[in-house]
Amino acid sequence: MQYMILIYEPAGAYAGSEGRTALEEVVAKHWALAAELTAQGIQKGGAGLQGVETATTLVRSRDGDTLHDGPFAETREHLGGYYLIDVPDLDAALAIARRVPGVAGTKIEVRPVIVHDQ
């Protein structure tokens, strides 16, 4: 089964000089994990996202689309990146989710991906 691992990080986690050090550490761990999962054929995709200040949101209504600056919801956590993995079951996906790096307050959501048979 394919699972999406969505990483929600607390706002401001990487602000300031301490934050920059934390970011460097977390990114290094992501590289190591991604390299390992790719070598094992588990990882099918994944990326880190730039900060929410770079986000633009398109809101669709009956009258058409309008564009907004920022993410769709003002929350204390922001989607920071994701992994797309292919593993046998939820326990295997959760075992990988436990290894995803992140500062305290990070939330990691694991969801199965809809796969369409050809």
């Binding site: 089964m1 699972y3 046998p88 079951d89 939820l90 326990d91 295997a92 996906a93 959760l94 969801r111 199965p112």
Partner: protein, 402 residues
């Protein structure tokens, strides 16, 4: 229900667990079992099978595989090539033991990815076949809400890919609490019915076996040991729980000659092992309460003062209305009816719960408030007691009126 009802209920856990493990689909397993039961009720009266469980397993598995094949054919809109597998008739003749997958199924239903308040109920529904109505009663919630919780959990198991496996030891602690709760509630349901008739037939044996298995898998977990001990103390007294008329007999009036000393000894050994771990918990305290009730087998009176103190301790770790009601009865026996009634007065909102009314009747009778005792018994009788308890409550009512 036909005379085959108890046979069907008794084989359900093993058969549904085996089906679910094989098919990896809870709904399909349950549906196939229901269909096999319906077939059994028409087939068995003429020709009862030697092994009802094996009959149900084969009949249900055949129906499930047929259903799955039909669904696959519909999806692909082409016909299957001739199957090299045995025909359904041949499969029915074959001798195939039912694999024991009960613990595996319990672990699927107790997966931490499912809502914490649903795991035990789901397990009891799927493994033991408890009705939604009964589950709603056991977990103090409305029936439609219970149905919705169970449906959502089943859907998630299928869609999220919850594995049908007993997890490795590292995953045990996370799931153990739900597994223990499941077995505890299942046993409480069986215990409620002293005659072990009706829906809970077979539960007691089931929990006895599964709690033993759990101790084998987690030999150092004091609460698993406590639960296994608790079940053994209570089961040891089962032969004495009914009088010659089929009425329930409370522990303090049971004929101790009928108690099973060997099973009590097993319970004592398990509880000692739990105590050595040095970490108390609600099931160990409950086991200690049951152990105290067993004191009479050594010729000692029921130590109500000890039991009341144990309920005080239980109130700290499990401050539920059920604990409070039982504590009030123990206090009434240990320190007098007035103290017991005072403790019961602190329990609110439980007037529609049978054990509450039974406790109120008992304490009022102790206090010689016979009119109120009779009124409480009347209310208890209207709350749908199991047959053995009904007879007991009616006996007490007659004694009050006589």
């Amino acid at each position: 229900m036909s005379r085959f009802g108890p046979l069907i209920h008794a084989s359900r856990p093993r058969v549904v667990a085996a089906l679910a493990a094989r098919l990896r689909d809870l709904d399909l397993a349950e549906d196939a079992f229901s269909e096999a039961c319906a077939a059994a009720l028409t087939t068995w009266p003429g020709q009862p099978p030697r092994d009802p469980g094996a009959w149900l397993w084969r009949a249900a598995l055949r129906r499930a595989l047929d259903a799955r094949r039909r669904a696959a054919v519909r999806e692909r809109a082409v016909l299957d090539p001739p199957s090299p597998e045995p025909t359904p008739e041949e499969a029915l003749m074959a001798h195939e033991p039912i694999p024991d997958e009960r613990l595996r199924l319990i672990f699927v239903c107790c997966h931490p990815a499912l809502a914490a308040d649903t795991r035990a109920a789901l397990t009891l529904k799927v493994v033991c076949g408890l009705s939604t109505e009964r589950l709603a009663r056991a977990f103090f919630c409305a029936e439609p809400a219970m149905l919705q919780r169970i449906t959502r959990a089943k859907r998630k198991i299928a869609a999220a890919g919850v594995p049908f496996e007993v997890p490795g030891p590292a995953a045990w602690p996370e799931r153990l609490e739900a597994v223990l709760t499941t077995l505890e509630v299942a046993y409480a349901q069986a215990y409620e019915d002293a005659a072990l008739a009706g829906e809970t037939a077979g539960f007691a044996d089931e929990v006895l076996r599964l709690s033993g298995l759990l101790v084998e898998l987690t030999p150092d977990e004091p609460e698993a040991l406590g639960l296994a001990a608790l079940v053994r103390f209570a089961e040891a007294r089962r032969p004495a729980r009914l009088d010659e008329r089929g009425a329930m007999v409370p522990p303090e009036r049971q004929d101790v000659a009928l108690w099973r000393a060997d099973v009590i000894a097993d319970g004592v050994a398990l509880l000692d092992r739990a105590a050595r771990a040095g970490r108390s918990g609600p099931r160990q305290i409950l086991a200690a309460i049951h152990a105290s009730h067993c004191a009479r087998i050594e010729g000692r009176p029921t130590p109500w003062a000890d039991i009341a103190r144990l309920y005080d301790a239980l109130m700290v770790v499990r401050p539920t209305a059920a604990t409070a009601v039982n504590r009030a009865v123990a206090i009434g026996e240990a320190r007098g009816a007035a103290a017991g009634l005072a403790a019961l007065a602190d329990v609110e909102g439980m007037a529609g719960w049978l054990p509450y009314q039974a406790a109120r009747a008992h304490l009022c009778a102790l206090a010689r408030r016979y009119g109120e005792a009779a009124e409480a018994l009347g209310m208890a009788l209207r709350l749908g007691p199991a047959p053995a308890e009904r007879l007991y409550l009616e006996q007490r009512l007659r004694a009050l009126e006589g």
